[in-house]
């Protein structure tokens, strides 16, 4: 039993190598660890590996047992995916799985690779995997604001929080750009496209900072697993207390059919995670307003999105949205309400601003946060 995670013995352990762009060396680190583990006498296999034609990385697989991929035909093309069933049948002690956020081709048993990994962990297999910071769900809007790219393959934060260790794979943007120019990361045509878009220096620097801070946060929250055992030395005690005390926040997000709801949910959940606060999402249906099918569906989708991020979501009825919201908040001891920011002038804005005003007036004992929408950078 590791002293770092005393509570999860039967389940496999997950280790994530976190980077901020292709080419920083995540896969190499994953394979190096697999090699070390094999050397130390563990039963190690590679469940999925994406070579990208990188010579150094491919050399690191030498001597490791590779599990064959599963071939799946979709619309006349054959795709190759990780063969989870074959790994389960093989039952290794440790399995290396590249590209954690990958979306499986339709027809696969599970839509996402991280779900395949859950199955491996449930079977008691330890997994070493790789991902980039931009795939973390709660950072989706910030990444969009930094890079102008809306990342579609995301992983809910709670999945990453389940990992026993998140390890930062660091490389400076300058070194990464040099590798890109030397053709280590991509073939020349793809490298040029990458340099023009995602691999702009300012984008890389910002993503790297996000990855460093996220890793620090992951290190910190793992300290909380140990909170039943108070530390003995004064220096450890003070940071322990700072983490454990003042955990009094409870956050409520107001969800509507408007697309901005997804962004507000992400932001509220991120703030809640950092403050170690409970987080709720609530939509309010007005009985007197005739039900609009599309809007109703959209709201439902947003509530499900909240549930997917492990936010408790409810649908309330109330003629007055603001008072329904504040009543719910009061009954549930909420300290902070998140609302979307009104986008433009016009009747819609008026209504929403009006909502914010009403909520502020009613919720005199709570804080009201108008979450900013994060826009792509102008270039």
């Amino acid at each position: 039993m590791s002293p770092l995670n005393p509570a999860r013995e039967d389940r496999g352990k997950l280790r994530i190598y976190l980077g901020y762009a292709a080419g920083v060396g995540k896969t190499y680190q994953m394979l190096a660890e697999a090699q070390d583990a094999k050397q130390a006498g563990h039963d190690v296999v590679v469940g999925y590996f994406e070579p990208h034609g990188r010579v150094d990385t491919i050399a690191k697989t030498r001597g490791l047992e590779m599990i064959g991929r599963r071939r799946i035909e979709y619309r006349g093309t054959v795709f190759e995916e990780m063969d989870t069933a074959a790994i389960l049948a093989r039952r290794p002690g440790i399995c290396a799985v590249d590209e954690f956020p990958h979306t499986n081709v339709p027809g696969s048993e599970r839509p996402k690779r991280w779900q395949d990994v859950q199955v491996l962990l449930d079977a008691g297999i330890d997994v070493i995997t790789t991902m980039n910071i931009q795939h973390l769900e709660s950072l989706n809007d910030q990444v969009f604001a930094i890079s102008g790219i809306r990342v579609r393959e995301t992983i809910p934060d709670w999945v990453v929080q389940q990992a026993d260790q998140v390890v930062m794979v660091d490389l400076t943007p300058r070194a990464l750009l040099n590798r890109l120019i030397r053709g280590v990361v991509y073939a020349p045509d793809k490298a040029q496209r990458a340099l023009d878009h995602f691999f702009k220096e300012s984008t890389l620097v910002a993503l790297r900072e996000l990855a460093l801070r996220q890793t620090a946060h992951e290190v910190e929250i793992r300290q909380l697993d140990l909170e039943d055992i108070p530390p003995a030395t004064p220096a450890l005690q003070s940071s322990f207390e700072a983490r454990v005390t003042g955990r009094t926040d409870r956050i409520l997000v107001y969800v509507t059919s408007d697309p901005s709801s997804a962004m507000v949910i992400r932001r509220a959940k991120r703030v809640a995670d950092y403050l170690q606060a409970d987080c709720f999402a609530v939509a309010v249906d007005q009985p007197s307003v005739p039900r609009n099918g599309d809007a109703w569906e959209a709201t439902e989708r947003h509530l499900n999105f909240a549930r997917h991020l492990h936010v408790e979501a409810r649908r309330l009825e109330g003629e007055e949205v603001a008072s329904a919201l504040v009543d719910f908040a009061r009954r549930n001891g909420i300290t902070q309400i998140f609302l979307a920011r009104p986008k433009e002038r016009g009747i819609h804005t008026f209504l929403r601003r009006n909502l914010a005003q009403k909520v502020v007036q009613l919720a005199r004992d709570m804080q009201v946060t108008i979450a900013a929408e994060r826009e792509a950078p102008h270039s």
Partner: protein
């Protein structure tokens, strides 16, 4: 974390220094949180790869107790002779300057040189090499960063003598954090320390190292943006700007701001928009609020401008603020509080910034 970031004045000085020293060698630093994470290996491995790519690389100094992996790489590199003064190894700066390689590896940046050496400490030797246009790749453990050493010593119980000022590391062209999951072999447990506390201690150190690297990166990002006249629309680090007025419920706002900034390892700034003709009573309550802000280690800013909302937003953009806290009251006069109109305009115009309203 206190004093961990250069002040704006320091940044300016560094920027000027950078400006005036275009011909300097480049400094690259591998930063670790404990011995055994693999800093030295990363450093010599980079030296090896650069040599393979045709750069002229020498090793200026190596720390005692090297691993077999490091030793294997060292065999492929040219090692410069070191001086020995009073039984202590010292970089032979004149010899390296004469040899004038493109790249010099210096393992362990934090050493005090003995009396009679050319420079009192090794980082000054390195500075001299950089000044002569030699690129330096070096390694350092966070406990040797002057501004962090106190905090680290409280955790490890060991106080180090030789330190490097953090401004020197902020001036590095590249800083790489060498992260590794804590391994019990890295811990030399203090007497009677439990295994859990040893693990905790390593995690604390690891967190300090990651955040230090993030701060250096943030500083470099700010410089990059300034140099290229770019504006960052979304902050990479959380920065909370608490806007107070004489009558705001400043206590709740500042305390909440502190907690948010701490949990996000971000910055807390408390700002006040200057108003003329404040009553003695308002002036006194403002002073009290500012004192409270100081107590909570907030950076304090007096903003000037006819339009408080514009002044706040201008400042918030400049400093890449991510959350603005404002008070809101239905009762008082406008110069004592932010009115509906102010709050509305703030919400409307604070693009990319969260606005948190504190009713009172």
């Amino acid at each position: 974390m206190e004093n961990r970031r250069p002040t704006p004045e320091e940044m300016l000085r560094l920027a000027e220094a950078e400006e005036s020293s275009k011909k300097l060698g480049l400094l690259k630093v591998f930063l670790g949180y404990a011995s055994g994470v693999g800093k030295s290996f990363r450093m010599v491995d980079e030296g090896r790869r650069r040599k393979e790519r045709g750069e002229d690389v020498i090793v200026g100094a190596i720390q005692p107790g090297i691993t077999p992996e490091v030793e294997a790489v060292l065999k492929t590199l040219e090692i410069a002779p070191v001086l020995t003064l009073d039984g202590v190894s010292v970089l032979d700066v004149p010899a390296i300057l004469r040899r004038k390689p493109e790249v010099c590896l210096v393992d362990g940046l934090a050493y005090d040189n003995p009396a009679g050496a050319r420079n009192p400490s090794r980082w000054l030797d390195v500075k001299e090499l950089l000044g002569a246009g030699i690129n330096v790749i070096t390694s350092i453990n966070i406990q040797y960063i002057a501004e962090l050493s106190e905090r680290v010593a409280a955790l490890t119980g060991k106080r180090v003598k030789a330190t490097v000022p953090q401004s020197f590391l902020f001036s590095a062209d590249e800083i790489v954090v060498v992260d590794a999951p804590p391994d019990m072999s890295m811990v030399r447990s203090a007497e009677g320390e439990s295994e859990v506390d040893a693990a905790r201690r390593l995690s604390e150190l690891r967190e300090i190292a990651l955040l230090f690297a993030a701060d250096v990166v943030d500083y470099q990002l700010a410089q990059y943006l300034a140099r290229n006249g770019l504006e960052q629309s979304s902050g990479t680090q959380e920065r909370v700007l608490v806007c107070i007025t004489p009558r705001a419920n400043a206590k709740a706002m500042i305390e909440s701001g502190r907690r948010n900034a701490d949990r996000f390892h971000g910055e807390l700034i408390v700002a006040y928009v200057k108003q003329h003709d404040l009553s003695a009573e308002d002036q006194a309550s403002l002073e009290k609020n500012l004192a409270l802000a100081r107590q909570h280690r907030a950076e304090i800013q007096l903003l000037e401008g006819d339009e408080p909302v514009d002044a706040i937003l201008r400042f918030a953009r400049e400093r890449r603020v991510t959350q603005i806290f404002v008070g809101h009251s239905l009762r008082q006069k406008w110069w004592q509080r932010f009115t509906h109109n102010h709050v509305d305009r703030l919400i409307e115009q604070a693009k990319g910034i969260d606005v948190r309203i504190f009713p009172h």
